[in-house]
């Protein structure tokens, strides 16, 4: 059944000009990065901002058009294709620059261009004091291009272009204010940690390609992979199933991009970038690429149960640990960053248990509420002149009502309060996790409770209580301009309402979202509809109630500590001699460990090798030269004193004689003539005798 469906799908691809979706942001990026400085000097920063935003919005319009076209097709023929040109064709490797648009890409593209456009607009307000708007909007557009390439890429290599391209943009935008060393260090860290993942991703891709080549089906095109991968069944390498090995390597790539244990360390540092960047790249889009990749290759991952268990475990662990770190941070962006890591953990948990659609659903809702939270935080930070420490905020509710309102809605959504978006997606994941393994569910539930707590801790510390803002900034407290609040409102609406796209059957919904994704995740869909008959709605209600209760508990705790002050945070910090608190506050010293162990290890190795190169390898060369020189000096000495000595001795004798004889040369012509005449006379007389 899978086989026929896949061939059918591959055959039914409808040609459609998808290239405009990526070309427009690329054009915007090219113009802004090449000529943007002149444009900004000539026409002001509005011009570059409008250009950037217009390209983003135009791309969004193209995506919507493609989406409508896609929806008009019958369910199992929903695929748009656009082959731009051939790219690399060497031997078995035949890769085109080709784009594909299916229900999954549609969701992702709508998120990227939709939220991307809102963030472009927001950035106009946020970056009002920055002289390099051209570079900012250029990079944002370039990011959109790369991200859309990642999503639309019809094969793994084109996807990889986007995959690394977003890394480049992330690097450029984290280090956007590049005169500060901290920012550029964070940018480099992000790129390098991602590169470790990319290295594994590349290896996974090679292994997949050659394993398929062995079975005569060498391809990297996703659609063809879908019915080529069954050939991997039974293949082994280094004592492991090839499918398992490939998926593990690809998953390592995903942990880099999507900030999972052990490669999550770059994401909190990435908050050094401007806040709109954090919202777009480090919350809503780029970091979800790993989840997208796994769902894109779900047919492959489903073949490797061991990998799936690893993904689930890593996802759950990340969700939990990141949440515990989020509990104690003072920097509002750091709280949100760890929250992002934690929520990404949820998504991996979901795909790990095979709930691909649920993972993407959470990705969607998370994009709304987390982007909104970041932008809200950005609005606060902007109003406070780049103050990010929550201990110096407070009471902002009355000054910034729109920011507060939207931030609150999003906090409710992420906490999983019924009716808001996060509730639907998170419960779906927890339910599916419970079906797979109740331990995973318990970990997820604990993380959900903590999420509710730290989010409301942030809300209360920032917006409630008395105002702790000091000095100059306090006098100028004001709500942000409309370009910043409009995106907030739209995103908050999404955070509130996006959940209704996927109301589960247990709550009387039809789960449109899952239906929409069904052609992409056929296996899951088939398994689900198989199980649908016997599934226990009572269990689902119980789980729902438990998670709502946990979220409520978290919120209540935050309320008691930060509003009613009936409980003291210090009491909690002192639990266990303060060790858990210190671990959480210092992020479990993972960064220190990585720096001390890996970075210093590599640097020491590189210094040692450079030393060896200079003193040993080159030393041998120079030593050889010295040996030759010494022996030649010796030969030279013999030559000089013995062989040449004889020659010089002869010369000396001649020289002495010459010195004596030279006296004869008077230089006077008369003297010579006298001698001449005398000599002639002498000769004549001697002849006469």
């Amino acid at each position: 059944m899978l086989e026929t469906a896949a061939t059918h799908e591959a055959a039914a691809g409808v040609s459609y000009a998808l290239r405009w979706i990526v070309a427009l942001p690329l054009a915007g990026a090219a113009i802004n990065l090449i000529a943007g400085k002149r444009l900004q000097d000539a026409a002001g920063r509005t011009a570059v901002a409008v250009l950037g935003s217009a390209m983003s919005i135009a791309s969004f319009v193209c995506v919507v058009a493609a989406f409508l076209r896609l929806r008009s097709l019958p369910v199992d023929e929903r695929l748009l294709l656009d082959t731009v040109s051939s790219w690399i064709h060497i031997g078995d490797l035949d890769v085109s620059i080709a784009l594909a648009f299916d229900p999954l890409s549609a969701v992702m593209c709508l998120i990227i261009t939709g939220i991307g456009s809102l963030i472009h607009i927001y950035s106009y307000g946020y970056m009002d004091e920055d002289p390099a708007n051209w570079r900012f909007f250029g990079m944002l557009n370039l990011f959109l291009f790369c991200m859309l390439t990642l999503i639309l890429g019809d094969n793994m290599l084109v996807m990889f272009v986007g995959w690394e391209g977003v890394g480049l943009c992330s690097w450029g935008l984290i280090g956007f204010w590049h005169s500060d060393h901290t920012n550029t260090a964070a940018a480099n860290k992000a790129f390098l940690v991602n590169r470790i993942g990319d290295f594994a991703f590349l290896c996974g891709m090679f292994l997949l390609f050659w394993s398929l080549a062995d079975s005569g089906k060498a391809t990297l095109v996703f659609r063809e992979l879908a019915h080529a991968v069954p050939a991997l069944e039974g293949m082994t390498l280094w004592g492991m199933g090839v499918a398992t090995l490939v998926t593990l390597l690809l998953f390592v790539g995903a942990t880099g991009k999507s900030a999972q244990i052990p490669l999550y360390v770059w994401l909190p540092d990435a908050m050094a970038g401007p806040t709109p960047v954090s919202a777009l790249i480090h919350a809503a889009t780029m970091v979800t690429a790993g989840v997208y990749m796994i769902v894109r290759l779900n047919f492959l991952f489903s073949m490797a149960p061991f990998t799936m268990q690893v993904i689930t475990a890593v996802g759950a662990a990340t969700a939990f640990f990141a949440a515990t770190i989020g509990l104690s941070q003072h920097d509002i962006k750091k709280v949100l960053a760890y929250s992002t890591v934690s929520q990404l953990g949820y998504m991996f948990m979901a795909v790990g248990v095979g709930a691909y659609a649920a993972g993407i659903f959470h990705l969607l809702t998370h994009a709304f509420f987390k982007a909104c939270l970041f932008l809200g935080a950005g609005s606060v930070i902007h109003a406070l002149h780049h103050e990010q420490d929550m201990r110096r905020m407070g009471g902002l509710r009355s000054y910034m009502p729109v920011t507060f309102g939207t931030f609150l809605i999003s906090a409710l959504a992420i906490a999983g309060v019924p009716g808001f978006a996060g509730f639907f997606s998170k419960d779906e994941i927890l339910w599916r996790a419970f079906l797979a393994n109740p331990v995973i569910w318990a970990v997820g539930l604990a993380a959900a409770g903590m999420t509710a707590f730290y989010m409301f801790r942030a809300v209360f510390l920032t917006f409630a209580g008395e105002c702790r803002v000091e000095g100059h900034a306090r006098e100028h407290l004001h709500e942000s301009s409309w370009t910043m609040t409009l995106p907030l409102v739209v995103l908050a609406a999404g955070a509130a309402g996006a959940g209704y796209l996927g109301v589960p059957a247990a709550l009387g919904g039809a789960n449109h979202f899952e239906q929409w994704l069904a052609p992409v995740v056929e296996l899951e869909h088939a398994a689900l509809s198989h199980a649908a008959g016997g599934h226990d709605t009572t269990l689902e209600y119980v789980l729902m109630a438990l998670s709502v209760a946990t979220a409520g508990l978290g919120i209540l705790l935050a309320y008691l500590i930060y509003i009613r002050k009936s409980l003291s945070a210090a009491t909690f910090a002192a639990i266990g001699g303060g060790v858990p608190y210190r671990l959480s506050f210092n992020k479990y010293f993972v960064d220190e460990f990585y720096y001390g162990f890996f970075l210093n290890g590599v640097l020491s190795l590189s210094r040692a090798l450079a030393w060896i190169d200079l003193h040993v390898v080159d030393g041998i060369v120079n030593g050889a030269a010295r040996v030759v020189r010494i022996s030649s000096d010796f030969g030279g000495a013999i030559d000089h004193y013995v062989v040449d000595g004889l020659v010089n001795g002869t010369a000396t004798v001649v020289d002495r004689c010459g010195a004596a004889a030279r006296k004869l040369q008077t230089g006077g012509i008369n003297a010579y003539l006298y001698v001449l005449v005398l000599a002639v006379i002498l000769v004549l007389f001697s002849r006469a005798w």
Binding site: I90, L168, H181, A610, W611, I620
Partner: protein
């Protein structure tokens, strides 16, 4: 235009003679003349690019004349898919280097004369099909290089020049021995490479082995492969910018070109025998070792020099695999490395001209001071670290893909260099271009028009080849496939059988 290769080779020599008769103080005239005489091969190269038929595996534009009849030495020129890329690269880089040498003020006449002679030598090496002729051009190229480093170089120029010269001479001697052995090994005696290739099956296994090794050491010095690489950092650090560009852009390729042109088809059995240890393992070691050494450098040029060692490792690894991806990747990498590393050296040259030092820690914040420069630098740096969409990515991924089929363990080690490369490139970028502006250099002028002209064409090529690699791959693929097959199918026919 059947003599196009001779024109490309000897027009620069004519340029040298033209410069020779000019008054020594007419600097402008000399520069423009030199530029004109290097532009001719470039224009011919552009024509050649359009005219060259990539689908033919044999030699094209062959010229054959008797030269020294007594010893059956001939003047044979010709190119196939392998050499055409190198000829084009040389033709492209030389005018750029002339422009990059514009501000040389010491001994202008001598400098440009030697440079033009160097171009003749380089072109000749890539076009010659008679081993004797090849050797002559090889040596012709060595001489001007020695003086260009030794006279116009930095403070330790004499040490570097002599080291370079002696090292290369050792290689030349080994090559000479192998060449003479080949000459005396068959009847009628000949240096004609095409004939020698046909005789390949008759060479005994032991003869192939030692001749291969002698040639390999000669070429490995040029690549440079570990442990023969230490002349490179010294030569680069001391050489003037344009000479570094030529050295890394063209001269290093002669090592790998020589292996593919001579060792592969003439000694295919020995190639099979030694490819793993001498090319694959050594190449992988080059990649990782070069990258790690680069990371520890404080001098910008030294860092780029070690990165060259690392990147040339990909070429060795790729050609060792004998897969179509690997070997195509290797030759593409030769071309791409030529353009990317040329950009890197030009970029270092720009700050060196202004600040007169190259200490990585002595700058800071140049991005704010010189935006255009920084933009082009970013392209070059990200190309060097293999960012997809730029040229070097294609060649590296092809090499690694081919290598995976050949030996997974080596590939994993080699591929780990993508992290290391990103590490040292970004670290240098951060220290020099980012961070707070160093007040000393707060008023450094951005790129001049001349500098822009040197960098921009290379940047365009780097971008275009990232998206359309077949612009080069189409030229080389059939030739390399044929070469692959020659080596893969080779067996020694017993010599007695033939007699």
């Amino acid at each position: 235009m059947e003599n196009v290769l001779s024109y490309m080779t000897f027009v620069p020599l004519a340029g040298m003679l033209a410069v020779m008769v000019m008054p020594r103080d007419k600097h402008e005239v000399i520069r423009w003349t030199a530029l004109a005489f290097t532009l001719v091969p470039l224009l011919l190269g552009i024509w050649l690019y359009g005219d060259f038929d990539g689908s033919i595996t044999g030699m094209q534009y062959v010229e054959r004349h008797t030269w020294i009849e007594t010893y059956n030495i001939q003047y044979i020129m010709g190119i196939d898919g392998l050499s055409v890329t190198m000829v084009l690269l040389t033709a492209l880089l030389c005018p750029i280097c002339i422009l990059a040498s514009w501000n040389i003020e010491k001994g202008v006449k001598g400098y440009f004369m030697l440079f033009l002679l160097l171009e003749t030598g380089m072109m000749g090496v890539f076009c010659a099909l008679d081993f004797f002729l090849f050797y002559i051009f090889w040596e012709v190229m060595l001489l001007p290089m020695y003086f260009l480093i030794g006279i116009w170089g930095g403070p330790r120029r004499e040490y570097a020049a002599i080291k370079f010269f002696l090292y290369t001479l050792v290689g030349s001697v080994l090559m000479l021995i192998a060449m003479l052995a080949l000459y005396f090994h068959g009847e009628p005696r000949t240096f004609d490479m095409l004939v020698l290739m046909e005789r390949a099956p008759t060479y005994a296994r032991s003869f192939q082995a030692w001749a291969w090794l002698a040639l390999f050491v000669g070429f490995a010095i040029k690549i440079p492969a570990f442990p023969f690489h230490t002349w490179l950092p010294d030569a680069h650090v001391e050489a003037p910018t344009a000479i570094s560009v030529i050295l890394a852009g063209v001269l290093l390729k002669m090592g790998t070109y020589g292996i593919l042109r001579i060792c592969y088809p003439i000694f295919p059995v020995a190639t099979q025998q030694f490819a793993f240890w001498c090319l694959a393992v050594l190449g992988t070691w080059n990649i990782v070792y070069g990258a790690l050494c680069a990371m520890a450098q404080q001098d910008m040029k030294k860092l780029v020099a070690y990165s060259s060692i690392s990147h040339m490792g990909y070429v060795m690894l790729g050609m060792a695999t004998l897969t179509s991806q690997g070997i195509n990747g290797a030759v593409l990498q030769m071309f791409n490395h030529g353009t990317v590393t040329a950009m890197l050296f030009l970029i270092v040259g720009v700050v060196y001209d202004r600040a007169h030092h190259r200490d990585i820690n002595g700058f800071g914040g140049l991005a704010s001071v010189m935006p255009v420069y920084t933009g082009l630098m970013t392209v070059a740096f990200f190309a060097a670290l293999g960012l997809p969409g730029l040229s070097a990515f294609i060649s590296e991924v092809l090499v690694l893909l081919g290598a995976w089929q050949y030996n997974q363990a080596l590939t994993i080690v080699a591929a780990s260099a993508v992290v290391l490369t990103a590490g040292y490139m970004l670290w240098m970028l951060q220290r020099v271009w980012l961070g707070p502006v160093n007040e000393k250099y707060a008023n450094m002028p951005d790129l001049s028009a001349r500098e822009l002209v040197t960098l921009l064409p290379l940047a365009v090529i780097v971008l275009v080849l990232g998206i359309h690699p077949h612009a080069v791959l189409d030229l080389i693929d059939p030739t390399l496939l044929a070469l692959n097959r020659t080596v893969a199918d080779a067996v020694v026919v017993s010599a007695q059988l033939l007699h």
